[in-house]
Structures are given as structure tokens and as C-alpha cells.
């Protein structure tokens, strides 16, 4: 590092930087920023604006800047039509439920495991840590197909009214969309890292006062772990909301399907693009709203996911 700087020094003496090229470069930077901004924002703007227009107008506006502007005959008709074509309300409820349960269980179960690994003496800890880290390198795509076969062999206790019955096969259920994604090696790792930064003197003091391990977890460690909880929640929520490959294979019944599978209702001829854009906007805007509201946490979680790999 030092040597590369040293070697750069002699040449720079010759070149003196005058202020005017720097200002030109500054303007150039802003032009690039704005151009990239247009490239990244306008397709989404186009999607949202088109969702408010009738099909004829969407195509009519394509050749002008009006494609990106909320002008002309605007209405929420497409949104209404989507609910007639697709059981959209059901899909939204399913996705909200599946994501929420996955996030809550994921935060709970992974933080408990991380707490035990960070705070307690447990026999076999080294083996477990190795196993957890080993799962980080396996992409879900390599497990998905054997997993479909496997979940079809698993038993489940079904509650019908007041009678319990044992069934086999998890295909076409809610649990098949939730339970495989609850325990997550990366979430455990993130919690573990965070817990290590909380001084252990705190829980030792609580031990002296006779607090149980679970109480230390609940009253001391978790209340101090807000940022880690936010990070894990976001990193669990996004794939849960966006999941497509998995529910495509394991869910057949309409009433159990999540939002992303709903796009299949539009794989047909003579589709109304206004409705497609309305459905797309509808399943995107909630996430965008969450992102705008918790921007800092989103960015932090993505940045922390960088250490994976």
C-alpha cells in the first residue's frame, strides 16, 4: 500500500490540478448520476403509471414521455379488474401471513440458538457451529428438488375440529411454505456476532441475582439487540415475500398460494397489460413503502449480508 502511494508521488508533481477541470468533472458526475437515476427509476415509474391507465392509452403513450407521466384517463379500474381475475385478496393475506410467521419464528428460533452458542457452555458446540457454517455455502436451488420429495414424506398432525389426525405429506399446506425457511444459518451467525458485542458482565450480574438463562435472553440480551433483530427480520421477510420457485412446486390449491404465484394468471393471450401492471404495483408498493420507512435498516442488512460467502 505504502509503496504504491510512493510510486505515484513523482508523477503527480508534474501535473497540477487546476480548478476548472474538477468542476467540469463534478458536473459530469451529476449527469451520470441523473442518467443512472432515470434508468433505474423510470421502468418502475412506467409500471406504476401504466397501472392507472386503460390499455389503449398505455400503448398510445408509449412513444412519448407521457408513458412515464400520470396524465390522461386515470382510474383505479385496473385494480378493481385484478380482483375479479385473480383471487388477489386471498394471495395478499397468504403472503402477509406466511412472511409474518416466518419472520417471527425466524427471529425467535435463530436468536435462541445464537444465545446458547454465544453465552452458554454446551457440549458439542464446536460441531454445531461447524455444521451451521457448512450450510451457508449450499444454495437453496441445489436442495429444492430433493426437498420437494422429502416434504412429501413428512408427517403432520392435522386438527379437524377437535379430532387430531396424523397425515403424511406436506405438499399443498401452509407449513411447507414456512417451516423450511425458519432456521437459517446466516441469521444465527448475525445474531451470534451481535451478541458477542454485548458485555457478558451484564448477564453474569443477572446470574448472581438468580436470573434464569431464558430470563437473561429475554430481559437483557434481546432488548439490546434491536439492530440485529431488524437486520434478520428484513433478510427473512424479503425472500419470504418474493418466494416463487418453492411455492411454484409445492402449492397447488388456489387458496394457499402466495402473491408471486398469482402472476401465472396473466400467462395467457389477450392479457390486459394495465391489469398486469396493477397487480405488479400492488405486490411491490408495500415492500417499497417498508423500504422507504426503514431505509437505514434495509441498507444495513444488505451490507451485513455482504460478509456471507
Amino acid at each position: 500500500m505504502a509503496t504504491t502511494l510512493e510510486s505515484a508521488r513523482p508523477r503527480t508533481r508534474v501535473r497540477s490540478s487546476s480548478p476548472s477541470p474538477r468542476r467540469v468533472r463534478g458536473i459530469g458526475g451529476w449527469i451520470v448520476r441523473i442518467l443512472l437515476g432515470v434508468v433505474f427509476a423510470f421502468p418502475l415509474l412506467f409500471m406504476f403509471v401504466s397501472s392507472l391507465k386503460p390499455d389503449q392509452q398505455i400503448f398510445g403513450d408509449l412513444s412519448s414521455i407521457a408513458a412515464f407521466l400520470p396524465v390522461g384517463n386515470l382510474s383505479l379500474d385496473n385494480y378493481g379488474a385484478v380482483f375479479d381475475r385473480v383471487p388477489a385478496a386471498r394471495f395478499l393475506v397468504n403472503s402477509i401471513g406466511i412472511s409474518a410467521v416466518t419472520v417471527v419464528l425466524g427471529v425467535l428460533i435463530n436468536s435462541l440458538a445464537a444465545f446458547a452458542l454465544s453465552r452458554m457452555k454446551v457440549r458439542g458446540k464446536g460441531v454445531i457451529l461447524t455444521l451451521i457454517i457448512a450450510t451457508l455455502i449450499v444454495p437453496f436451488e441445489t436442495l429444492a428438488l430433493p426437498l420437494v420429495w422429502w416434504v412429501n414424506q413428512l408427517p403432520w398432525l392435522d386438527l379437524n375440529g377437535f379430532s387430531l389426525s396424523l397425515t403424511t405429506g406436506w405438499l399443498d399446506t401452509y407449513q411447507v411454505q414456512i417451516l423450511p425457511f425458519v432456521a437459517n444459518a446466516f441469521s444465527i451467525y448475525l445474531f451470534h456476532q451481535y451478541f458477542e458485542s454485548i458485555p457478558k458482565e451484564l448477564d453474569e450480574a443477572a446470574r448472581v441475582d438468580g436470573a434464569s438463562w431464558f430470563k437473561i435472553y429475554r430481559k437483557i440480551v434481546m432488548p439490546l439487540s434491536g439492530p440485529a433483530i431488524a437486520t434478520v427480520s428484513i433478510l427473512t421477510f424479503l425472500p419470504a415475500w418474493n418466494s416463487y420457485l418453492w411455492p411454484l412446486m409445492v402449492v397447488q390449491s388456489e387458496e394457499l398460494r402466495p402473491v408471486m404465484i398469482g402472476v401465472q394468471y396473466f400467462f395467457q393471450l389477450n392479457v390486459s397489460w394495465g391489469e398486469v401492471m396493477a397487480y405488479s404495483s400492488m405486490i411491490t408498493l408495500p415492500v417499497v413503502a417498508l423500504f422507504i420507512a426503514f431505509q437505514r435498516s434495509f441498507v444495513n442488512s444488505i451490507a451485513s449480508s455482504g460478509v456471507k460467502g
Binding site: 428460533i109 440458538a113 455455502i137 430433493p146 422429502w150 432456521a183 446470574r207 438463562w213 402472476v263
Partner: protein, 321 residues
């Protein structure tokens, strides 16, 4: 930290036992440790059981089922068939087509996405006013699901779609764009462009966190020396990002090799297999044709590929000291 809890740190319930007799101390300690073991395992077990059930078992099954004739739904238990599935796989033209397509996709997407993301990171790094706004904009496609992005671009890529209208406009009618997704030559480039658009913001954030680890002192020293912007990048930023760089290369590569959603929504592997991928083939075999065994064989080969490629990348980008 917790290595040797003195009797003083025992829970209140245990302290009720008179601590005068020295013979009771080891027993108390033992009891204490047993409790810690039990509590620790109680906290660990939900996660460990779920990881075993949904990661380890399917990983082992991928190995096992690939050598059987297992079907997704079948009254008969799987029967061992040796390497039949692999023989069939390596004789399958569709599989080689998928390998080639995925290689094509990865070779273009990895440098392109990493490069665009780095450019964006450099543009929004630092405390310049208004820069935060652009960071938010660049990140928006990342929070949009790939399924929605694929639908949106499916519409934009039509022969009479937005992209071709823009091309016609910008060239004053000289160029009329192709029917992007129905043309064997343009379908994959179209998917590449869209994938970079969706994913670049994600890696911008990772580049940014790498940029923040570079000491500001280095830049100050460079400013005193009157170093040019390119030299600052070449001699400070680029070497400072070496760890981030190898990380980004590996994550984009694995993501690229796993290409599925875009193809599933936009082209179903067509036209003429020009966009079929390994994961798409695995899903078609295991789900549509219900041949779990054949799909497991594809998954195994895919996993081997991921391991080899990331091992090679790790080796090439290792810290040279």
C-alpha cells in the same frame, strides 16, 4: 467468561443449600452445569432440528436419490439404479445447452453487474448533498421482486414495447428493435440486461460498505500530494477493495449460476432452448415430469459446479502476501 462459576454466582435457589460443607460444593457445581447444558440444548434444539430436517436431510437425499429411480409421487419405494441418471444426463443435449447458457449469462453478468454497481457506489459515496436520493433510487429495483421485474420487462421487451419505442425515437426512426424475447440471438442478452438492472443496487451497497473501510487518511495524504482522480482510484480505492471484490465476484457468480426466475416468467427456456438453465432443467425434471431422481442428479452436478467455480475464484482472488 462462563468458564468457572464460583458458588457466589449460583442461582438463588441453589444458594439456599448451606455452603459450609466443602463436600457439597462439587455437587452444586455439577448440578449447575447440568442445568446449563439442559437449558442450552433446549434453546439450540429448535434451530438444529429444523436445519437437520430442511438442509442436511435434503443434501444427503440429493446424493442418495440421484442413484435411484425415485419419483415425486409414486406408490413404489425408490430402487437403486446405479449411475443411470448421470449416464442419461451426460447424453442429454438440453443439459449441455443449459450449461452453455448459464456460462454465457455468468460471464457477462458478473463483470457487468459488479462494474455498474461499483460505478454507482463511487457516485453515491461520501457526504455530497443530494447523493442519498440517488442511492435510494438505485436501490429500488432490489426491493422489487424478480417476478415483478420479469413481468414488467416482458412488457417492455415486446416488439411494440417501450424499449423499442425509445430506440426508434432516439435514432429518429432509423433503427427498429427486434422482438427481444422471441429471438434466439437477443433473448439471453435481454435477460442479462434486466438482471443487471435488478441486482446492481444490491452490490452497490456491498461496495459502499467496502469503501467505508478504506481509511480517510490515505485520501487526505493523496490530496496533499495532488494526486489525480484516476490515481486515487487505482492506488488507494482499488487495492483497498480487494476483499470486497472477491466477495462480490463469488456472490454474483453463484447467483448467476442459479438463474431461474427470469427464465421461468419470461421465456420458459425458449426460443429453441436459447435461455434454458440448469435450475430450470432441474425444476422441469423434478416437478413437471416428477422425476425426483433425475432432478437430484442435475442438482448434484449443479452443486459440484458451484463448489468448483467458487473454489477457483477464491484461489484466484486469494490474498497475495
Amino acid at each position: 467468561m462462563n468458564s468457572s462459576p464460583a458458588p457466589a454466582s449460583l442461582p438463588a435457589t441453589d444458594r439456599a443449600v448451606p455452603a459450609t460443607s466443602s463436600a457439597q460444593k462439587p455437587r452444586q457445581l455439577k448440578k449447575y452445569h447440568r442445568r446449563e447444558q439442559r437449558a442450552g440444548w433446549a434453546m439450540l434444539s429448535p434451530a438444529v432440528i429444523l436445519l437437520l430436517l430442511f438442509v442436511f436431510v435434503p443434501a444427503v437425499l440429493a446424493f442418495g436419490l440421484a442413484f435411484t429411480n425415485a419419483r415425486l409421487i409414486s406408490p413404489n419405494p425408490p430402487v437403486f439404479v446405479g449411475v443411470d441418471n448421470f449416464v442419461r444426463l451426460f447424453a442429454d443435449d438440453g443439459f449441455y445447452r443449459a450449461l452453455l447458457n448459464v456460462a454465457y449469462f455468468a460471464v457477462v453478468v458478473v463483470p457487468l453487474q459488479a462494474g455498474v454497481a461499483l460505478l454507482m457506489a463511487l457516485l453515491v459515496n461520501g457526504k455530497v448533498r443530494g447523493v442519498n436520493f440517488f442511492r435510494t433510487i438505485y436501490f429500488l429495483p432490489v426491493v422489487t421482486s424478480m417476478v415483478v421485474v420479469s413481468l414488467l420487462w416482458l412488457f417492455m421487451y415486446r416488439q411494440d414495447g417501450l424499449l423499442n419505442e425509445i430506440i426508434t425515437r432516439v435514432t429518429f426512426g432509423a433503427v427498429h428493435g427486434p422482438d427481444w424475447l422471441n429471438n434466439t440471438a437477443t433473448a439471453m442478452p435481454a435477460i442479462i440486461l434486466m438482471s443487471v438492472w435488478q441486482g446492481a443496487g444490491f452490490h452497490m451497497i456491498i461496495w459502499l460498505s467496502g469503501l467505508q473501510t478504506i481509511s480517510a487518511d490515505l485520501y487526505e495524504a493523496a490530496d496533499i500530494d495532488g494526486v489525480s482522480r484516476w490515481q486515487r482510484f487505482r492506488y488507494i480505492t482499488w487495492p483497498g477493495l480487494s476483499a470486497t471484490r472477491s466477495l462480490i465476484l463469488i456472490t454474483i457468480t453463484i447467483q448467476a449460476l442459479s438463474l431461474f426466475t427470469q427464465v421461468s416468467v419470461m421465456t420458459q427456456g425458449g426460443p429453441l432452448d436459447s435461455t434454458t438453465t440448469i435450475v430450470y432443467q432441474a425444476v422441469r425434471a423434478g416437478f413437471k415430469q416428477q422425476e425426483t431422481s433425475y432432478a437430484s442428479a442435475i442438482s448434484l452436478v449443479f452443486f459440484a459446479l458451484v463448489l468448483i467455480v467458487s473454489a477457483v475464484q477464491r484461489y484466484l482472488t486469494r490474498e497475495k502476501s
